[in-house]
Structure formats: structure tokens, C-alpha cells
Symmetry: C2
Subunit: 309 residues, 2 copies
Amino acid sequence: MEARHLRYALALAEHQHFGRAAASLGIAQPPLSTQIAALEREIGERLFDRTARGVFPTAAGEAFLVRARGALTEMSRARVDAGRAARGETGRLRLGFIGSALLDPLPGVIGRFRRTHPDVRLTLQELECPSAALLAGELDVAVGRGSPRGAGAEDLVTVPIGADHLIAVVSTAHPFAGRPSVGIGQLAQEPLVVSADAASTYLRPLFNPDPTVLDTAAIARDIHTIAGLAACCAGVGLGPNRMRMIARKDIWFCDVEPRFRLPDLRMSVRVTDSSPVLAAFLSVVRQNCADVGARLDDLLARHPAAAGR
Amino acid sequence: MEARHLRYALALAEHQHFGRAAASLGIAQPPLSTQIAALEREIGERLFDRTARGVFPTAAGEAFLVRARGALTEMSRARVDAGRAARGETGRLRLGFIGSALLDPLPGVIGRFRRTHPDVRLTLQELECPSAALLAGELDVAVGRGSPRGAGAEDLVTVPIGADHLIAVVSTAHPFAGRPSVGIGQLAQEPLVVSADAASTYLRPLFNPDPTVLDTAAIARDIHTIAGLAACCAGVGLGPNRMRMIARKDIWFCDVEPRFRLPDLRMSVRVTDSSPVLAAFLSVVRQNCADVGARLDDLLARHPAAAGR
DNA sequence: TTGCTTTACGTCCAGCGTAAACATG
DNA sequence: CATGTTTACGCTGGACGTAAAGCAA
């Protein structure tokens, strides 16, 4: 049984007339007759009653036609669904990110992606180390800080998706409140509140030649906790400029002088991942984050394993 | 797109290898390759990734395969459903009957039919005049008494499906209680309870030469009411022998001497009705009611309009 | 007779098989 | 080089068209 037989049977049922049905199919009457006969022979039952007043489906024919319609519908859906999947309009994307990414680039990117790709199942997960989950195959996109390390890292491409610099946050009751900026020297006199990796790595050069002040800093898991501890007058919080998005009335933000650049927020994906959903997501990222497109294309072109793209 | 393309794509996805998939399909490798290529060209998307480690569906391919499976399932169901419908295993049968038919032939027939044809939607309806509803096209089978009249009656075939004779029913407090039989002469002395058509037609010869005793009889719509009125000592109920199936403790049944045969219970169907469900039902009736088969065959053979059977 | 379906038969395309060429690790 | 896929090409089955033959009203 071929799809042709189904189409012919449906046309015949619709027109109730071999001649008109054949015309609607763009073929002559006799072939239609032989094809219907062949179908009936294969099914083993008469599907149509040929009467003087027209051609009508038998009980078997009625039952057959219902399924025939279903089968042809599935076939047209197969075509449509394949196209949608190829364009990344359906499917699944697992995105892992560090919490602070939710403040700046992610809301715009994710919001736009959800609007333009409403039928993609988007899994969002806040993680301490998204790139590890990406390497483990639990994610499709990781947004974190620094470059991924570990086995398989050579199969990842990583692009910066947003630069940022250090600012300070204090309670409105703190002497710094109301000041647009503070100097690094002043900071070194204060008890500090920073994130764990900031304390251990990228903030240390800031306090050269004596980075030991960081060893006594309070440690917070995310920037909301930094702001909260600062609000408690537990110390001066240090974090990225995008922390200003936090709208608490009991805190005050100061620029840090001189401006100190923080490690870029970076997005990683597997180069071996040829998922159209990922491609669609990257395309949205390109539109939202300046300069990402060219860097991404460059990296992908250079990468030896980027065959399937 | 033809069903062949779906079968080939599914085989390829299953075996992840052109050669083995082709072998499983009973064709050589190159035709499979060309057919898959043709399918991909028609869909407009690559459906399979050909890698060194095997052939794997792309995202578009995955989406396509889901629908392809669905379409082929529908096609095999089309075949199965057509066969089942042709054998009368599915479909609908509307049966109308007079209440008293529920006592004798219908329980056996309907019970057997439901067991052997559980997927047929059987509509059962108690009616005063089932044959009228059959003529009106509201029924497929009518079980009633006497022969159908009216426009279109020549397109019906009617066979007797059970003979019966008259018995009397009285209260256990009635003088007749305990007697195996009563004579017709004794009945004429008593107040009677009969059905409407019995009073007006087929019971009148019983009381010749003076059928006027029936004019004062109480009229009941069904045999349960006859028995109930008899139980109230409202009179002597007259009805068919199958009335003995009624299991009330406050009534007593007597044969009527001499035995008086009642009009046969008859089953009517439209000769123009070629529904397989009806054929299956008639086949059950044949098995349950002796002699019906031969009579039915005879009537159908003689009928000029019985072409489609 | 008329209108419609089926049968008969010739034609041509398309799907298949064989053989060779081409990619890829 | 070995394995597997694609391209090339001849062949054949079957789907189509035309013409003629049933068939029912």
C-alpha cells in the first residue's frame, strides 16, 4: 500500500465519481479505476459501492478512509515538523548559567528567544560551574566566567558575551553612601564582602601589593547575598557593575576608582553540537550581544572538529 | 512523498547503516541511498548525518521519523479497520423492539452478539411500533408483532423469530390460582387485562362469537403492567407464554384451553441494507433461532431489490 | 441510447540492480 | 587500504494514457 492509494481513495470518496475524482487528481479515469481495484484487492475487501447514482464507500471503506486521512495528515506533518526542527523552532535547549548572568545579558537573550521560539523546550538552571555540566553533556549552553577546563574542553568554543567592571555596594547608613565613587585605597581599610572565586582569584591583583585583605573578607555565594550583607553593614560589597540592577532601597552603589575590569562573562557550547535549536539560540545571541557573531564565526572556522556546521 | 520513503527512512534509522538497512528492506544499497536523497530533497532538509561511525538522524530527521511511524501505523490500522468493519466487528446497529421481546428471543441473541462483537455500538430502544421507526430510517433492525405496513414496506424483509401462545395470569388470591389451566369460557366471565393491540386485533377471534367482552377489558402498555394489574386482582391478565419469565411471587400463570396461538414475533430489516454489522447480527440470529436462516435466505433470494447482498 | 466503469494494450517513467567512483578514517 | 556511501547506467515493472468493451438505467 502506498500513499498514492490513500490519496486516490480519498479523492474518490470526495467526488463520488471516478471521472471527476480522476480529473481532480490530474490523471485519466482508467488508472484511477485500476489503482482502486488494486487497493481493494490488497485490503481484501470492497471499499466502494459503484451504483448508478454515484460511488459510495462501504462500511469497510468508511473505516479505511478515516485512517487514510490520518495517515496523510501525519505525512504532511512529517514534512512540516522536519522543517520546523531544522529551523530550530522545535526541540530542546538546556542552558546553565551563573546567577549574576541573569542580571545583564540573559534576560534580553532568553526573552527574545522565548518570543521567537515559543515551541522550544528551554531548560534553565542556575549552577556554580556551568561549564562542567556542559562538558558532562548535561547542558547545551553554559554561561559562566573564565574558560572551561578539564577533559573535553578542546571540543568547546567559548566567546565573551559581556564585559563588566568592579563596583562597590554599601548600606545607606555607611559613610560611603551618597558618594559616586570610592578609591581602592579606601576599600582596603574596610571589611569586605566578595564572592568566593573573586576572593581566591581575579580580585587579588586589585589589592597588590597586599592582597591578604581579601583573606578576611566575608564570602557570599551570589551578588544578592553580597548586597544583602552590605545592607547589614557587614562590610563593603564588591561585585560587577550589573549588580546595579538590584533594586534595594537600603543600599548604595559606588564606582571603584580606578576602574577595574572583571573577567568577561563567557558563553560556551560544544562545537560538535549541530543542533538547529542551538544555532537559532546563537543567532539570537548574535543579535543581542555586539561583536559575538564575528568572534563565534572566527572560532568555529578555526576549530578542527567543527565539521558539521 | 510515498509510504516507501517512510519505510526506508525508518529502516535506515533503525540500522544506522545504509547497507544493513537496504538488506533488511530486501533491496540493494544504492537504491536506498537514492531514495533517501530524494526524500531529503523533497523535504528540503537533511534528515540523516552520515558519519564514519554510522548514520544518525538529524534533529529534522528525529521529528520526521516520529511522524513517519505515525503515518505507517495509521496505514496498517487502515487495513485492519477495513477488515474488521467488513466482518461487522465494528460499526453501529440500532435495534428497536417491543418490550415483550426482551423476555424470549432477545436476551440470547443480544447477549451472544455483544460477546462476539464487543466493539459494535449497539443501540437498543423499546418502542410501541418498531417497524415504523425502521421504515423511517431510525433503526436497522425491528422486532415486533405482525407485518410492517406503510410506504417503503416493500423494501423490508420480515421473518418470524419465535412462536408463542396465550396464557392467563392471575393474583395468587384469585380462584384460578393453583390451577394449571383455564378454559376460554371461564375467561369470558372474568374482567380481563390485555394489551392494546391484543384487544383491538388478534385476540378478538378467541372470543367469537362475542368479542365484545374485550371492549371492557383493562388496557396495559406492556406485559409487566398486565401482570401487575392481575396481581392487584384487577382482572385476569392475558398475554404470551413468555410472560412466565416474570418472577413475581404474587401472581399465578395458567395455560388457556384450548391452546391459542399468538401472532409470531417478527424481525424486519431493510433489504437494501448491506451493512456487515447487520449481516453479523443476522448470523447470530440464525444460530439462536431455529429455521430463521433458511427463511431469510429464501426471502432475500426472492426479493428484487436484494442486489447488494 | 446514454453515462459511467472496467478491460485491453501500448508507452514511458521511475525505482531497482550492477559496476564503478568517491569520501573518510 | 578498508569500509561505506554516492554516482553512473542499463533494465524492468508498473503506473499512466488511449481506445474499446462491458454494464446499468
